[in-house]
């Protein structure tokens, strides 16, 4: 607090006058000392960002939390005076079979997506770290999934996975891998797998780009030293490369997790949550609850499951990124 009139303020005039600057009425309010002026300027600079954060982040979250404790209907949703519901919405949500399965589906979908994205993303990143003809073109093609709107991706995948005439079945039957076309999206046991595959495709560019850039930071000499120490390619990857890029892998997973638990458009485009709610995720089911069944309270309660997940991830992310900063700055020669 006792700011020692930082470098910018030529404050020797104040020293020895006896009273602390800024502590005596209007006169000093207008003639702020250098230090308080700086503090005021700092807050002024922060104001737009704070206003934006309050409006875009805090408000919806607070409103959502509020909704989950209210008994809202179409008639009260526009006002803020809905009847208080206590934990009713939460008990309703946890007793809702579909909500339960949506939570399980979201978990399966997320774990499956991240595993697939990591394995394929790392493989591609390793591939692009080698020189081969057409590398630059191939590397740019990786980000194509990002150029397609999610809802379009969903529709394209729906076409590809169609039972009759879908590209996937034609290839699988054509190559003799399966004998009869599979109803990928119409069978409850396959539908979640199918949307997960589509989501893996969507997330691969993110993993590839981050892991690729991390791989570029691994010094060639260290890999050569491992080679000379007798490590085979698999050992070099497992014992040297992956541990060195581990901080990036951790952060990639964390961000990937946040992106995956909230996937919505893709599933709506492919299955709409069906068949028989087999691909119902937290996001799609809370949307259905809220905007088709107008059960706003339970929808908000379900959504807060995601909020909790995000609240766990945010500090973890800060911790990891700070850790990585420390590690990388300390590891310099």
């Amino acid at each position: 607090m006792e700011s020692q009139a930082g470098g910018a303020s030529p404050a020797p005039a104040n020293t020895g006058t006896g009273h602390a600057p800024g502590s005596s009425g209007i006169g000093s309010l207008l003639k702020l000392s250098g230090a308080s002026k700086q503090r005021l300027a700092g807050w002024l600079f922060l104001t737009p960002a704070i206003a934006y954060l309050l409006f875009a982040f805090a408000l919806p979250i607070v409103y959502n939390v509020l909704l989950s404790f209210e008994r809202d209907s179409l008639s009260t949703i526009g006002s803020i005076n809905a009847p208080w519901a206590g934990f009713f919405n939460y008990t309703a949500m946890f007793n809702d079979q579909i909500a339960q399965s949506a939570i399980v589906h979201t978990l399966v979908f997320t774990v499956g997506s991240l595993a697939g994205q990591f394995i394929i993303g790392l493989s591609l990143a390793l591939l692009f770290s080698n020189r081969f003809p057409g590398r630059t073109v191939a590397r740019s093609l990786v980000i194509v999934p990002w150029l397609v709107p999610l809802i379009v991706t969903g529709v394209i995948f729906r076409f590809m996975f169609q039972q009759e005439g879908g590209a996937i079945n034609q290839i699988l039957v054509g190559t003799g891998l399966i004998h009869n076309p599979v109803d990928w999206l119409g069978t409850t046991s396959y539908a979640l797998l199918t949307v997960t595959i589509a989501n893996i495709w969507l997330g691969v560019p993110f993993f590839t780009l981050l892991l690729y850039s991390a791989l570029q930071e691994v010094p060639a000499e260290v890999k050569e030293a491992a080679m000379i120490d007798g490590a085979n390619p698999w050992q070099r990857l497992r014992l040297v490369t992956i541990p060195i890029i581990l901080p990036v892998i951790e952060i990639t997973f964390l961000l990937g997790f946040v992106f995956t638990v909230k996937v919505f458009d893709l599933v709506i485009g492919m299955t709409g949550g069906g068949p028989a709610n087999a691909t119902q995720l937290i996001s799609t089911w809370s949307y259905t609850l809220g905007f088709q069944e107008f059960n706003f309270g339970e929808a908000a309660a379900l959504n807060n499951v995601l909020l909790v997940a995000a609240l766990v991830c945010a500090p973890l992310y800060l911790l990891l990124s700070r850790d990585q900063l420390r590690r990388s700055s300390g590891a310099g020669r």
């Binding site: 080679m227 000379i228 120490d229 007798g230 490590a231 014992l239 040297v240 541990p243 581990l246 310099g332």
Partner: protein, 408 residues
């Protein structure tokens, strides 16, 4: 343990640059050979080819008699210390040292005692659990050597391992490196651009330039009988003074002219004398080591071969003084057309010393001051002569000095 032999080793990079051409070298078991030369002379490429990190364009590398051209780096059984140490940043000292044992499947309870022993030898006992980022430069250097120590490699390779250390530590680590190599008792190949390191560490030193071997000899031999102008100018600090000269006079009394000054050469009957005599009237290059010059005292001056010079600068070093002087002779230093030209820009010492036109290393008690005009006595028997066209030493006993002598 094994011998290392390189035969006609050539490396041409994809862009057409010939980094190493027809290089021959034989390293005995336990021998410490230094590859030295200015940057870009191909010494690191050579080392990487021995390590298996770079493919040969042609030629043969043998380890213990076995051709290893197509053996991958990991099966070649070499240990290597890299310029930037190349430690595994996520592993502590012990695990860094034990890494080669780990990938060979040696269990922890066996590899850790070995790594600890190596750490003790290198004075790393107190820091074995630290990660590389928490170590000083010298400690990292020691860990890098520890990785070689725990193995029993066929050959020990080092790529400028001391260049990232400060001057004091570098001197100290020289003996440390030698100690490790003696302990391993294997053939060692050490790359450096620092001629002092080469001279102090190598059993033999190979001087490279532009991918070709200039001379392979013991440090003393390199210093006293450089095969050519490049070696003469590269080895020695401060470097040899090199001047354009001309031989004249009668067969029994040859005279060397350096600019307007003349030095009578002693009558000798050797091979060199005959070559010099035959070359009368042709331009050549005369080289005088700084310590072969002394300041004449008044009485004897006219009886000896002296060079009159203007003192430009005196560097008092305590045990000796370096007198930078100028004469009217033409200093040979960067002959752009000549084939022998030392890469002056790549070697700071050559550039630095060429500010004045010559350096003499004299007794610090002889009073000499900037601006003095002095007579410098030349030890004429120790003048080196080089062909001005080819840069080759004139009258060297071995007429093809670049051919390595292979003990076999």
């Amino acid at each position: 343990m094994a011998t290392l032999s390189l035969e006609q080793v050539t490396k041409v990079f994809a862009n057409g640059v010939e980094a190493v051409s027809e290089f021959d070298l034989f390293v005995e078991e336990g021998e410490f050979v230094v590859l030295v030369g200015p940057s870009g002379c191909g010494k690191t490429t050579l080392l990487r080819m021995v390590a298996g990190l770079e493919e040969l364009t042609s030629g043969t590398i043998r380890l213990g008699g076995q051709i290893v051209n197509d053996v991958s780096a990991r099966d070649r059984d070499v240990a290597m210390v890299f310029q930037n140490y190349a430690l595994y940043p996520h592993l502590n000292v012990l695990d860094n040292i034990a890494f080669s044992l780990r990938v060979r499947g040696v269990p922890k309870h066996q590899r850790h005692p070995k790594a600890r022993e190596a750490a003790d030898v290198l004075g790393l006992t107190a820091v074995v659990l630290r990660k590389p980022a928490q170590l000083s430069g010298g400690q990292r250097q020691r860990v890098a050597m520890g990785r070689a120590l725990v193995r029993e490699p066929a050959v020990f390779l080092m790529d400028e391992p001391l260049s990232n250390l400060d001057a004091n530590l570098r001197v100290q680590m020289r003996s440390e490196v030698l100690r490790v190599q003696r302990r391993l008792g294997v053939a060692a190949l050490y790359v450096t651009h620092d001629q002092t390191e080469a001279m102090t560490m190598g059993d033999r030193v190979a001087v490279l330039r532009g991918g070709t071997l200039q001379q392979l000899a013991t440090p003393q031999e390199l210093y006293e009988n450089p095969a050519n102008l490049f070696v003469a100018s590269f080895i020695g600090s401060p470097p040899m003074n090199l001047y354009e000269g001309e031989i004249s006079g009668s067969a029994d009394r040859l005279v060397l002219s350096l600019g307007s000054q003349k030095l009578a050469l002693p009558a000798e009957s050797g091979h060199r004398h005959r070559v010099l005599e035959a070359g009368r009237g042709r331009k050549l290059v005369a080289g005088i080591r700084p310590e072969d010059l002394t300041v004449a005292d008044g009485e004897t001056a006219d009886q000896q071969a002296t060079l009159t010079a203007l003192v430009e600068l005196v560097e008092l070093l305590g045990n000796e003084s370096l007198v930078h002087f100028s004469t009217d002779a033409t200093r040979v230093r960067n002959n752009t057309g000549g084939a022998w030209t030392p890469d002056a820009t790549a070697h700071g010492e050559i550039v630095g010393a060429s500010a004045a036109e010559g350096v003499a290393r004299i007794d610090p008690r002889v009073p000499v001051a900037t601006g003095d005009r002095v007579a410098l006595v030349v030890d004429v028997e120790r003048i080196h002569f080089f062909d001005a066209e080819t840069g080759a030493t004139i009258g060297a006993t071995d007429q093809s000095p670049t051919a390595p002598q292979q003990p076999s």
